[in-house]
Structure formats: structure tokens, C-alpha cells
Symmetry: D2
Subunit: 118 residues, 4 copies
């Protein structure tokens, strides 16, 4: 990855992409939230019948397809944050800090009995 | 946003977070795909009863909550890509290039009759 | 609809379908929950770029496709309840009763400021 | 389950529930598709950190919570079909017939290499 991989760069590229096609009219937060969820559903369909082990050893072809699905999720996520005026990188830093406090290393070590886990 | 907002930086922070808590055992691609989908569902719940107009004018309090939900999606997405060995920024660039070819500016202008739209 | 449209009839048909194909091994609750979510994602993709008005006036062809997606959701839902030993019809009756208490007619009339709405 | 457990009975109860609260205005297909997807996300959150074995042996308390989540999915699904004018039971029968043809018993026995699996 390079210094141009920032979320800001991606946000600007998507903004320009939408503007050139006059797609801002379709990019309401409501619609983009739906698109995000639909793409997350496509990711899950790749894994639903796999064991945990199989999911960690995807054939190259499948991994390439999954990579593009993950990219779709990222594109819609970045675009949704943009139309909402949310600084996604800042929100991620804030959430990481919250999680660090919520799951202290000693208490959380090796435990799966909580739902949030990042 | 700052130069440290790259997806690479975030990936490394999450890797360290999981390692410190011995959570790698829970972070199979299958489980993380589920977590990603669950978080996308939480995003959608914020918008389901809103009109398009309301979705574009969230009260500050709600927008703050949505920001943290979007952060959750990003954290699981970055972590999922990492455990799959996928370069998320590279995949996003590749998908953008595919979309630019699939939706030429002239043909796609102002049209909502396709599903993919980024 | 006919008297055979009960959820119980459908449950039995799916049980037999899976047994004949020796698919019980894949039908863990975890996997079926993923399949359910994936199908819900396919439903949403049909609606994401439509206005509320367009969503209520689908062309016949699209409505036929959506009907089969809704069927997929129902099949996985019934199968998931079955492998969990959950009586889905009884749970639905219980949830309806809870909702009736949670949203008294007078207080809830015409108000969209709650998330649950059934 | 009783003869009153038909999807038709449930559809009528939900129709009456919405009418009494003047909620038809919120129950566009687009909104209900979102609610369906959001509830499917809540189901998945119960299972995301569980192994396949754990998912098949839920403690009673958790199973009771999951039962109500499955009920939510069913309520929104039935309501969505209703506002779209789709006969859900008929669609389910049609989809079962399609699946029976798509996955002949001999060819499909014990195989997990297809995505659709009901």
C-alpha cells in the first residue's frame, strides 16, 4: 500500500465518480445504507457453507472474488460516510479507543463470551 | 485526516489488538464475515423508517451513533481482509477501475436502472 | 392459500428435502443464520435504488423475482427454526403479543420515531 | 402448531396491527426490506462467535432470545410480501419445486459445493 491509500483519497475518487455520472441524486444515506448491507450479504454468501478451516484456506479464484466484494463494501462505506459528513478515519480511531477501554487486555484474553470483538 | 489514516495503519492496529487479547482464534474469515454483516444490519436499522430526506438530515446525536456503527463496519472489514491476506486498498482501486469501465460517463449519466452504482 | 400452507407443513418438507440429500451436516444453525442473512441481502438489492413509490409499483417481472427471494428467506428461516427446536409460529404469536403491549394503539398512532414497527 | 398457524392468518393479523396504528404510511416495500435485513442481522449476531457445535447447543435463555429474533424476521417477511401483493406460501412451494429440480437427490447427496442449499 502507498501513502495514497488513505480513506480521504478514496472518498475524493468516489465523489468525483458520482458527480461525473450525476448519481448524487441516488446516493441518499438511506440508499447507500441499503447498498452497503446488500454487499455485506454477498460477502457472507461466499462463506456460509464453509467450515472455519475452509474459510481460512480459500482457493485463489474465490479469494479474488471475495476481494472484489470486500472492495464493494469499502466503496459504499466510504461514500455513505461522505454523504453523511462523517470523518470515517476519525470515527474508527474513536471506536478503537472505546474498544480498548471496554475490553482490557487482562480481562478479555481468550474469551469469546462477548458479542463485540474488535 | 492525516497520513496515518491509511488502511494499512488501521490493519496493523487491529492485528495488535487481537493478538494482545488472544482473539485470533475467534477471527476466522467465516466469523468475521458474520460480524461484518451484523454491523451492516445495525447501520440499516438507523435508516429503515426514515424518508430519503430525513436520512440526509440526521440530528447530531444520531449521526454520532451512526459514525460509530460505520466505524464498526470498517474495523471488521479491514480485519477480515487481513486474515484473508487481501490487500483491501489494492482491491478498491481495482474495483474502481472495473466500475469506470462498466459505467462509462456518457451512458450512465443520471440513470438508476442498474444495481451496482459506484 | 390452503390449509396446507402452515409453517409446520413447510418445515416437514424442508426436513425431508435435507435428509434425502444428506445435507443435515451443512445445516448447522450458524450456517443457516448466514444463509438467511445472505438471502435478506438479495431482497434488499432489489430495492436499494428505488424510491418508496417505485418500490410499491414493481414491474411484474421484478415482482416475480422478488417473490422467489422472499421464498428463499422463508425456507431458510423455517429450516433454521427447525434445527434449533424453535416453534416459529408460537414465537410469532408471542412476539405479536409483546408488540401489541409495547405499542398501544393510542400512543403509537402515526408515529415513526421508534425502530421496531410491527 | 395449530391450523391457525397459516401464513394467511399471520398476514391478516399484521395487516390489522398496522392499520390500527396508521403505520401503513411507513410500510413501503423499501422500508420493510430494510427492516427484514436489519432483523436478519440481529439473528446473525447471536451466532457469529460460536462454533458450529456451540450454535447447535444454545443455552435455553439464548434460544428464547433467538426465537423472538426469528419471529421478527417472519413478521417483516410476511408483511413485506403482503404489501407487495405476493402470495408467500405459493412462492415457497414454487421455490421448493425449483430446488428439487436444481438439486436432484443423486447428484446433490452430501455435497457442499453449491451456494443454494434448500
Amino acid at each position: 500500500m502507498t501513502p495514497t491509500d488513505s480513506l480521504e483519497t478514496l472518498r475524493d475518487a468516489l465523489r468525483e465518480f458520482a458527480a461525473a455520472r450525476e448519481w448524487e441524486q441516488f446516493h441518499t444515506p438511506k440508499n447507500l445504507a441499503m447498498a452497503l448491507s446488500g454487499e455485506a450479504g454477498e460477502v457472507i454468501e461466499h462463506f456460509q457453507w464453509l467450515t472455519a478451516e475452509q474459510s481460512a484456506a480459500l482457493p485463489d479464484g474465490v479469494r479474488g472474488e471475495v476481494a472484489l466484494e470486500l472492495a464493494d463494501v469499502l466503496l459504499y462505506l466510504v461514500r455513505l460516510a461522505d454523504v453523511l459528513g462523517i470523518d470515517l478515519a476519525e470515527a474508527a480511531r474513536r471506536k478503537l479507543a472505546i474498544n480498548a477501554e471496554r475490553y482490557p487486555v487482562e480481562a478479555a484474553r481468550g474469551r469469546a463470551d462477548k458479542y463485540d470483538r474488535l
